[in-house]
Amino acid sequence: MAWLTEQEAKAKRKTDIGPPHYSKMLPPVISKNYGKWKYHEVFTPGTMVHVAESGDKVYTVRVASPRILATESIRAMLDIADKYCDGYIRWTTRNNVEFMTTREENVPLIKKAAEDAGYPAGGIGSGLSNMVHTQGWVHCHSAAADASGLVKAIMDEVYPYFTEKKLPAKTRLALACCVNMCGAVHCSDLAVVAIHRKVPEINHDLVKNMCEIPTTIGACPTRAISPDPAKKSVKINPDKCMYCGNCFTVCPPIDIHRPEEDGVAIVVGGKVGSLRKGPMFSKLAIPYIKNNPPRWPEVVSAVKNILETYANDARKHERIGEWIDRIGWESFFKKTGIEFTYQHIDDFTFARDTFRTSAAFKW
């Protein structure tokens, strides 16, 4: 294949056509039974069946993926789909891959083929699904930690909860490599969010040439940035700055990176479904753990500790947030052995709703 010339590209290009219609992408059993499904049954964390009113069945094998995929790997998945699934494949909203077939005998074959290619089956039901994450050092300017590396290290450790072991309820892990949170970290059962901890340093000589001052001032959520006319630059009020890095995004000479101070916080107890308690935000469990690549052992063991404390203590069908609501945050800190610090006490937008207004609590 050769690149199109400028003229060829101009002649060929179309605009505003949108994506292909989904009906062209559906396996025949899905098209036939669209909107007419009766029930489903989960066999294992990696396999399930959906049964239609017509009696038709579609078996699904769900497999893990690291989200970053080389074209070569996707082709290997497509080959499996051609061999066993009549040439159709699907991705889930949590970056898992789904192979669907009407032939039950294909299920173990698909599972084996995917596992041989390096993508193990799992992620359905009361356990872990894939960990949603962001770009990290692979591709983002504002990352305070890597994303894929932390996810790989964490998922290696809690792997059995993806493939076979049960938890009290489904548990959604997520990771964001900065507070922009390009992923549902703020409403996940257990999530890692990378943070900066120091006021950025300004290279004033470069600010003059590279940055628009009003935009830079406007980017700050806490109004910590003001003009510095003498230097034709800006200054930052250290009492107001909470290190979000928004200014760095619009003005690169305001450098937020501090490799020895950057790291991650761990938040827990969020969910998005309305089941039982309704959607919940994740709350701060651990304010800071240093970056320790390539495998971040301190973060991995903190995640495992929270997950296993929950697994041992929660009632069936209780999500992490529901479990903590029932036992109380004071018990959460006691049972997990996590230290409670000033950082845990809110002083931002909704602080007063989080202070205790009852004399009933636990020791």
Binding site: A11, P19, L26, W37, A70, G136, K152, D156
Partner: protein, 395 residues
């Protein structure tokens, strides 16, 4: 091709979970760009920091989004990632693919880019990770001439996303995939040409389980629901009990409204008190199903923390019928955008503007009356406004 020593990244090729490092290295076998991505990433792991500059303005002619500029801050050391732009390809609703259709994109990406992808990005697009500025126009022509298009970025309508919906889920109350596709096609101009104060996202979930995190991640959350009773198949309830389910503890005892009872033989639901949370239905899917009218609850405003704290979406329209061509939904969306555009400062999401201007001002502007379903509780303080029309008894 330059050979990089990667002792730190090599550690992440070990272990049972699929390795992103293996993926990077697969692409690096044939792509200089992917190879330099590996080299730069190893340096990031060593120095504990990223080496990317924020993107400048790059894109394709006539569009203001769909491509996110990305440049290495170390272009001399890693020339392959000097340009490493992201191209967002709008996914088909539901993320089903015919294999030959997806192969077309892969072949093009090997030719024009790094061979690295994200399947998928957080908003739902297929993300092609890493190409040079001069590749954008020819790649765009190749992609669009084969029936695909770019997704949204910047202060635009972001690529709408949905759950699997009626394609393979018995709980879907609305045709999430069709609504998603319809909105995407109707508002192509808003997707491709950023014209708003900030981003705006639609996510469509078939039920309150919300597999697309619509209530947490969409400025406009469309969540399927019903008005009617839950039909109970008592024989199947007995099967669940026989199979070992403790119906009183797991179903009745966990019902948030206490609207269920079970005497060991019959499961009874007081439907008037049911809040349709989906707990019982999700645990006893063979025995319980909604009946009656189907539609969606429309919620507004959710977002991640930047700038003034994260928000979950708020109910504005408790129930709306969802039949093609979804005119009522579109009219509502257009009123929402008009009010937002009139009232927002740059980089203010709709939820933040509602907080600043007040929910009343917003609801009046979009023509939605006050209803108790919109609030958890009425206000507790006695500080409230009266307008002339309230005093004149017009409202």
């Amino acid at each position: 091709m330059k050979k990089y020593e990667t002792p730190l990244l090599n550690e992440l090729e070990k272990g049972p979970w699929p390795s992103f490092v293996k993926e990077l290295k697969k692409a690096a076998k044939t792509s200089e760009m992917a190879n330099d991505e590996v080299g730069q990433l190893e340096k990031s792991f060593r120095d504990k920091r990223g080496y990317w500059k924020h993107g400048g303005i790059v894109g394709v002619l006539g569009y203001g989004g769909g491509v996110i500029g990305r440049y290495s801050s170390l272009p001399n050391e890693f020339p392959g990632v000097a340009h490493f732009h992201t191209v967002r390809i709008n996914q088909p609703s539901g993320m089903f693919y015919k294999t030959d259709s997806l192969r077309t994109i892969l072949d093009l990406w090997d030719e024009y880019g790094s061979g690295l992808t994200n399947m998928h990005g957080s908003t739902g697009d297929m993300v092609l990770l890493g190409c040079r500025t001069e590749a954008l126009e020819p790649l765009f022509a190749e992609v669009t001439s084969r029936g695909w298009d770019l997704g949204g970025s910047g202060s635009a309508l972001r690529t709408p996303a949905c759950c699997v919906g009626k394609a393979r889920c018995e709980w879907a109350n609305i045709d999430a995939m069709d609504i998603c596709n319809d909105l995407t096609q109707t508002y192509q101009d808003y997707v491709h040409r950023p014209a708003w104060p900030y981003k705006f996202k639609f996510k469509i979930a078939g039920c309150a389980v919300d597999c697309v995190a619509s209530i947490a991640r969409a400025d406009c959350s469309i969540i399927g629901t019903w008005k009617g009773n839950i039909a109970v198949d008592q024989d199947v309830v007995k099967d669940y009990a026989k199979a070992g389910m403790n119906i009183n503890a797991e179903i009745v005892g966990m019902c948030p409204t206490g609207c269920m009872s079970y005497d060991g033989k019959t499961l009874t639901i007081d439907d008037e008190n049911c809040s349709r949370c989906m707990h019982c239905i999700s645990k006893m899917t063979k025995a319980l199903r909604p009946t009656g009218e189907r539609g969606a609850s429309i919620l507004i405003g959710s977002k991640a923390p930047i700038v003034v704290g994260s928000l979950l979406s708020w109910v504005i329209v408790p129930f709306m019928k969802m039949e093609p061509p979804y005119t009522e939904l579109k009219e509502l969306a257009e009123k929402i955008w008009e009010w937002w555009d009139d009232n927002a400062k740059p980089r203010e999401r709709i939820g933040e503007v509602i907080e600043l201007k007040g929910m009343r001002s917003f609801l009046e502007a979009i023509g939605v009356p006050p209803q108790p379903q919109q609030v958890l509780a009425p206000r507790k303080d006695p500080f409230f406004f009266w307008k002339d029309e309230d005093l004149n008894g017009k409202k």
